[in-house]
């Protein structure tokens, strides 16, 4: 794929991934076939900032975990009042990273 397209993708979607992922994504996209560009371009990612807001507001109901697709952990959090309140607070700090990992997983399925 052209470097210009790849850089455009990295610029618009960089905030959805961990910084250490970006180089790998760039390398992978550069050697990828041009026909997949449409698919990559239309992928929907979870915004880590939105996840943090949800975590702050509905963290003790597990809504943040449901939102990023960790249904099992979400149920666990819901049933334990946000893990006695401790897990909910820990997740305020972990949820952005978890969301970025989920986005990476989603992208990996395509590229």
């Amino acid at each position: 794929m052209e470097a210009q397209k790849v850089d455009l993708f990295i610029m618009t979607n960089g905030k959805f991934f961990e910084s250490h992922h970006l180089q790998a994504i760039r390398d992978r996209l550069l050697e990828m076939d041009d026909s997949k560009w449409g698919m990559v371009q239309t992928l929907q990612f979870k915004d880590p900032t939105i996840c943090l807001i949800i975590s702050l507001l509905g963290g003790s109901l597990g809504i943040d975990r449901f939102f990023i697709g960790d249904t099992g952990l979400g149920i666990g959090k819901l049933l334990t009042c946000g893990g006695f309140g401790i897990w909910a607070i820990i997740d305020w700090f972990l949820i952005m990273g978890a969301a970025r990992e989920k986005n990476m997983e989603k992208l990996r399925q395509i590229i």
């Binding site: 003790s60 109901l61 697709g69 249904t71 149920i75 049933l79 946000g82």
Partner: protein, 141 residues
């Protein structure tokens, strides 16, 4: 597998939460038989707003179940039954999987996750949880 959790990570997390849960239940069981006191309140929502959350009363429910009064347990919070089953079954299952080097619980966990992703199931579950929440507020847990 939809989940990013690895098998060992999930099992460790389960064992850790279950042991915490059992310690918490033992503490409540030993000190509050008969007259439950709400000195220690672990729920952030209840402390911040004074309104109980959907799973408030789960400890009371489990303590009631363990002391044999199923009716009280269901009245306190029906979710207590689910939590009790989970914390009773999952440690045994984890140990079984470790001993026989299987991942049956991990596979089951993935299946449960997929089950709750079905839209109809999710909607029904959400309605039930909200109904339980309203009931909790009415009961004034």
């Amino acid at each position: 597998m939809s989940s990013a959790l690895s098998r060992n990570k999930l099992y460790l997390l389960l064992l850790f939460t279950c042991s915490l849960g059992w310690i918490w239940i033992y503490y409540n069981f030993a000190y509050n038989i008969g007259n439950y006191s709400t000195d220690i309140n672990t729920c952030i929502i209840k402390q911040a707003t004074g309104v109980p959350c959907p799973s408030c009363g789960t400890t009371r429910s489990i303590v009631s179940f363990l002391s044999g009064s199923i009716k009280d347990g269901l009245y306190s919070n029906p979710l207590g039954l689910i939590v009790l089953i989970i914390i009773m079954v999952s440690p045994v299952w984890v140990v079984f999987d470790f001993l026989f080097k299987k991942k049956s619980l991990y596979i089951f966990y993935g299946k449960v996750e997929m089950f709750f992703r079905i839209k109809l199931v999710a909607i029904i579950a959400i309605i039930l949880v909200i109904a339980n929440w309203i009931w909790n507020i009415q009961k004034g847990l």
